[in-house]
């Protein structure tokens, strides 16, 4: 989905605010949320892909206006309600008011017919272009590289395609690659000529130019 989480290249957020000697957790509730997510993950009640997508499905104003571990809390509560392990009514009764949850899951990407983990389609040094696709569901293909040309720098290995794994019980294993993009390919001729961005992309996201 073209969500607010896909931040690469956006303007207007200002300076990076670095807190000296920052603690690992700032508040007790952050410790609790981290521990709850770890516990649910250990019991396989959520996986990385569904969890990330539940964060992405947050209302965009809530996402930008809330601290990091509130994203985790919202995603965890949403997944548990969606799985029927916790009822929203019980949660709101205990919280004494409304508990904001992520927006409903939309259809994911269908299993790609052509993709196979048998052999990599591209080799180190291959020229590739990123598909210009805008799935409604989860994807790990950032907007800022779609339609852009790059060169394969490394074969990362074979992994679950998140676009499928975040939505379905089916699994689709695929090669992923590290692709090098020149800064000017991404940001135009006025950009810094001595910058390259390396992005890790699944085979389904890539085409031969």
């Amino acid at each position: 989905m073209n969500g607010v989480h896909d931040l690469g290249g956006m303007d207007g957020f200002g300076v990076v605010d670095v807190e000296p000697n920052e603690p690992v957790f700032h508040h007790g509730w952050e410790r609790v949320v981290f521990g709850l997510v770890a516990a649910m993950s250990a019991q396989r009640l959520s996986n990385t892909h569904t969890f990330r997508h539940a964060i992405e499905r947050m209302d965009p104003t809530h996402y930008l206006g809330s601290p990091y571990y509130e994203h985790w809390l919202t995603a965890l509560a949403s997944l548990l309600v969606e799985k029927g392990l916790v009822s929203r009514a019980d949660l709101e009764a205990r919280a004494g008011g409304r508990v904001p949850l992520s927006q409903p899951l939309r259809p994911g990407t269908a299993l790609p017919a052509a993709a196979s983990a048998a052999a990599p389609r591209f080799a180190v040094g291959s020229q590739v272009v990123v598909c210009n696709v805008h799935p409604l569901g989860h994807t790990r293909c950032p907007r800022y590289v779609r339609g852009r040309r790059g060169v394969v720098a490394r074969l990362d290995g074979v992994f679950q395609l998140p676009d499928v794994a975040a939505h379905a019980r089916e699994r689709c294993e695929q090669y992923a690659y590290t692709v090098r993009f020149e800064g000017r390919e991404l940001w135009g001729d006025a950009a810094d000529g001595a910058v390259a961005v390396y992005v890790d992309l699944w085979e389904s996201y890539l085409e031969a130019p």
Partner: protein
């Protein structure tokens, strides 16, 4: 946020997010899906045992042992495991080396991917919209704002950890440290030098 007319003789009321976190925790405990001991153990591990002091050991070993450095750059996961580090968010580690003419920096534009076994949990700024938005677009400007002024002649490589690989930067060994012990060197290596927002 407390209001000026809050009653200071009573504990501050829980904030809305604290209330929601407690509600979920209580519900999951009542259903037997989680126990206090598990939460305490996992939190304690990341507060006390898993952090940038681990990455610093990897960096110093690479400085002192050329054969280890070669293994580290060829297969980060395996070489880091030699020192006893691994686990969640560290299953596929890649180490990228700085040189006088090349600087590496790590970001996750889509969420907050970070090499937990060697750096611990990420600081808030790493997870913040300005860092994630700007690091891929104008890294030299952003690094300068963060205190690292790289000349135009230094190539910058930004690694957006958008899939399963997690990256750590191998900073250059500072000049004038030839006589220092391994422990003294470990103390020189900062978290930010291994993310790539600082040099040593």
């Amino acid at each position: 946020m407390r209001e000026p007319d809050d009653d200071h003789h009573h504990p501050a009321p829980l904030s809305p997010v604290e209330v929601r976190a407690k509600a979920l925790e209580d519900l999951l405990k009542a259903k037997g899906l989680v126990d206090e001991g598990f939460i305490d153990a996992v939190v304690s591990a990341y507060e006390n045992d898993i952090g940038p002091m681990n990455g610093a050991r990897v960096v110093v070993r690479a400085w002192l042992d050329p054969a280890y450095k070669a293994r580290l750059l060829a297969n980060g996961t395996a070489a880091i495991a030699e020192l006893g580090f691994g686990g969640p968010e560290g299953e596929h580690l890649v180490v990228v080396e700085n040189t006088p003419t090349l600087h590496n920096a790590v970001v996750c534009t889509l969420c907050s991917c970070y090499p937990w076994p060697v750096l611990g949990l990420p600081p808030n700024w790493y997870k913040s919209p300005p860092y994630r938005a700007r690091m891929v677009r104008e890294p030299r400007v952003l690094l300068r704002e963060m205190g690292l002024d790289l000349p135009e002649s230094v190539e910058i490589r930004v690694w957006d950890s958008s899939a399963e690989v997690r990256y750590m930067v191998l900073p250059e060994r500072p000049a004038g440290t030839e006589g220092k012990s391994e422990e003294e060197l470990v103390a020189l290596v900062t978290r930010d030098s291994m993310i790539g927002t600082a040099r040593l």
